[in-house]
Amino acid sequence: EADIYQTPRYLVIGTGKKITLECSQTMGHDKMYWYQQDPGMELHLIHYSYGVNSTEKGDLSSESTVSRIRTEHFPLTLESARPSHTSQYLCASRDSGLPPSGNTIYFGEGSWLTVV
């Protein structure tokens, strides 16, 4: 099991509210990712980071923003939540080391967000 944690696991909020999904990893990985996944569907990359002060947008356009002030922390923020943001958000980090573990991506347990 990888040491990557997401909070909250489940959240129901009202439209227009600001929400931050937390993600932390204790493995010292430089690269971190946020994926969005609707139930039973494929994953879509929405944000990634190569290290501190590095953030990039992924393949799927998202109204969320991220920050990377510390290596271990990669929070995702929605300034004004809408029902269309209802989804599961998965945080991940990547081991850049040598095989056998190198290039493996480890996932957190996910944050289920419902906007009503």
Binding site: E42, N103, T104, G110, W112
Partner: protein, 115 residues
């Protein structure tokens, strides 16, 4: 750009039987990694097995093994002696052996295990 295709949206297997999940990918690169991830309902995505493209030998992890056909760009997962706990979404994934490259996922296969 790399693509990963899982042609079986759903599969079903009888407990204790063997099932094979299909995955094909498309890339012009030669140095890459392939993965199978398991995602149980409302549970964490976990790594099942990984394969380095430079290795000809198929990876195995207990009851899980792969059939890696590099020329055909095929990477199937075989689950032997299926157990009820194997029921989950299975995602095939690809990444180049490149420090900055992303993990590209297939659309997933839902595996049901019948008692």
């Amino acid at each position: 750009a790399q693509t990963v295709t899982q042609s079986q949206p759903e599969m079903s297997v009888q407990e204790a039987e063997t099932v094979t999940l299909s995955c094909t990918y498309d890339t012009s690169e030669s140095d890459y990694y392939l993965f199978w991830y398991k995602q149980p309902p409302s549970r964490q995505m976990i790594l099942v097995i990984r394969q380095e493209a430079y290795k000809q030998q198929n990876a195995t992890e207990n009851r899980f093994s792969v059939n890696f056909q590099k020329a055909a760009k095929s990477f199937s997962l075989k689950i032997s002696d299926s157990q009820l706990g194997d029921a989950a979404m299975y995602f095939c994934a690809f990444t180049l052996n490149n420090a900055g490259n992303m993990l590209t996922f297939g659309g997933g296969t839902r595996l049901m295990v019948k008692p």
